[in-house]
């Protein structure tokens, strides 16, 4: 089902005209309301009048996570605080979170996008959907929730952390759809199997996102649960889940391009690459009021196609993600930068600056082990001393990353020193 045929099936000419009009308005709005952007544009010698449409977008400077960090918390907000109705936040690269704000119009737009995505997965007002993303500062829970409500579905706000309750309610309520991370859904399929509930569920569709997953994993989920599973994409800086999603043909993710103008660039030269070529995905939020971003570098690697899809939608599609152009990890749906671990460990005087993160997947759930070397003057020969130190480090890491990690103390010089660029991560999951 197509939620908004007018916008999703628009001709290329009409879409470009709409994007032109929205971009011109956006650039002026941003220039007038965000000092940081005004300075940035002045520095590049570009004025709002120079932007007459999307063909001029390359004249504008890029935005990165660092810009959000430098203006923490509200420096990039374009709307007055009285118009902001919601805040979300995600991991920054070092300690400080990346904060985003939404006006009521932004929330409405977001709900519209999620409703479109859920429609691509075949979810309708007649469905009962369990939202099993975390509710809170993370955009997953509330984003999916508002979208599903907009759709008119019966929404069950499960949040995360209680698989037993979730599977019980899935059966008792006759839930027909679920929104959660793909790895969690695989885990749930095992819980359902172990409890002998697989033939008692009425599930038919899943909208999975917040972490990269492979086509193989999608088919695994579909076979195990006898459902159709869809890939929903988004990032808090741009909005949250709902920026793009794949339809029943699973040939790329349709971008809500009337709201988010995509570009693919070479992450080294920063020059645009042609359609079909892999590069870094860049978004300009065409209508956002709270925190509009111009040419935001997502660091996600993908390619785009503008061919019309078999489903009838004309919107531009991105391929499955092929990796990241930075070292960000997504662990249990949470963005994690190795630099955050480094920054956290600096405050623990008992350990050396050497560490290694080992990411793996056990029973379809992500695990993170952090190996740290204890400074030799802090060794104790009592178990309780070692345990106390382990607990202290675990606490520091948990509060820095927002996820728990297993801490493993290592002897001196036991972690490999690398020549040149240090390697701090071993990711044993095969996500791309």
């Amino acid at each position: 089902m197509i939620w908004n045929e007018k916008m999703e099936c628009m001709s290329r000419e009409e879409m470009t005209a709409l994007q032109d009009e929205r971009l011109v308005k956006l650039v002026k709005y941003v220039y007038d309301n965000v000092e940081y952007y005004r300075n940035k544009m002045d520095k590049c010698g570009v004025k709002p009048e120079d932007i007459k449409g999307v063909c001029d977008i390359t004249k504008l400077p890029y935005t990165t996570k660092d810009d959000l960090r430098d203006t923490y918390p509200f420096g990039l907000f374009a709307a007055p605080h009285s118009d902001i109705v919601r805040i979300h936040a995600s991991s920054g690269t070092t300690g400080k979170a990346t904060v985003v704000g939404y006006t009521q119009n932004d929330i409405d737009m977001w709900s519209e996008c999620v409703a479109r995505c859920m429609s691509m997965a075949g979810v309708t007002k007649d469905d009962i959907i369990q939202v099993a993303y975390g509710y809170g500062l993370f955009t997953g829970g509330l984003g999916a929730h508002y979208g599903a409500e907009k759709l008119g579905a019966m929404v069950v706000p499960m949040s995360t952390g209680n698989s037993k309750k979730l599977t019980t309610m899935m059966v008792d309520f006759g839930a027909t759809a679920i929104a959660c991370t793909p790895s969690y859904l695989l885990h749930l399929s095992e819980v359902l199997r172990d409890e002998g509930l697989l033939d008692k569920i009425k599930l038919k569709a899943a909208v999975c996102g917040a972490e990269p997953w492979t086509e193989k994993m999608r088919r695994e989920i579909e076979t195990r649960l006898n459902i159709t599973a869809h890939d929903i994409y988004g990032l808090s800086e741009i909005m949250g889940p709902g920026v793009a999603c794949d339809c029943e043909h699973h040939e790329g993710l349709h971008i809500c391009e009337d709201y988010f103008y995509p570009e693919i660039i070479d992450s080294k030269t920063l020059e645009p690459v042609s359609d079909g070529e892999t590069g870094e995905l860049v978004f300009t939020t065409l209508t956002k009021e709270g925190i509009p971003l111009i040419r935001y570098r997502t660091k996600d690697l993908t390619s785009i196609t503008r061919e019309k899809c078999k489903c009838g939608r004309t919107s531009v599609r991105i391929s499955r993600f092929k990796g990241r152009s930075d070292d960000m990890l997504i662990i249990r749906g949470v963005n994690v930068f190795p630099s955050q671990v480094e920054a956290a460990l600096i405050n623990v005087e008992e350990v050396t600056p050497h560490y290694m993160m080992i990411v793996d997947r056990e029973n379809n759930l992500d695990t993170l082990e952090i190996q740290v070397e204890v400074d030799s003057k802090y060794y104790t020969d009592e178990i309780k001393g070692i345990e106390k130190l382990t607990k202290k480090i675990a606490g520091v890491i948990q509060s820095a990353l927002g996820i728990s990690a297993k801490i493993k103390l290592m002897g001196p010089n036991s972690l490999k020193r690398s020549e040149g660029k240090a390697v701090h991560v071993i990711d044993n999951r095969k996500l791309y």
Binding site: I386, T390, K408, G411
Partner: protein, 142 residues
């Protein structure tokens, strides 16, 4: 009165203990007593050896987290109840014991290695009660 114990922190992986022991063997260090406290992740190896300072040096240079810990080696008469008598004196003086293990070098002799964080108090109690301890010298000669 106290003796230096060699404590080694080892990650819990196969062969690690053997690596420590072979360093000691190569350097002709004699082990008089050994205790291994283990958890799922790591082990704490505690050793009474004839040359503790030297053992620490060779282990450190072989890359092991090694330290010396002052402990008491208390001589215990080889009769039933002897250990209980000693420990009750220590308990009465409100001294807590972190850990202990046995040491025996001859058929008729028994000792316990004891770690406490109230060393001087413990020494005082042992002295007052005339309870014998082993000295560094005695250990070296073994």
């Amino acid at each position: 009165m106290t003796v230096n114990q060699v404590s080694v922190f080892i990650e819990n992986r196969q062969g690690r203990l053997g690596e420590v022991l072979s360093v000691l063997k190569e350097n002709d260090v004699n082990i008089l007593s050994i205790s291994l406290a283990d958890t799922t992740e790591y082990g704490l190896l505690r050793l009474i050896v004839n040359k503790p300072e030297y053992a620490k040096e060779v282990l450190l240079s072989a890359g092991f987290s090694t330290m010396l810990t002052e402990v008491l080696i208390i001589k215990v008469p080889h009769v039933a109840g002897a250990l209980q008598d000693i420990l009750s004196e220590i308990a009465q003086a409100n001294i807590s014991i972190e850990y202990m293990y046995g040491l025996s070098v001859e058929a008729n002799d028994a000792s316990i290695v004891m770690k406490t964080n109230q060393l001087s108090d413990a020494c005082q109690v042992l002295k007052n009660k005339n309870i014998g301890t082993m000295t560094e010298k005695e250990i070296e000669s073994l």
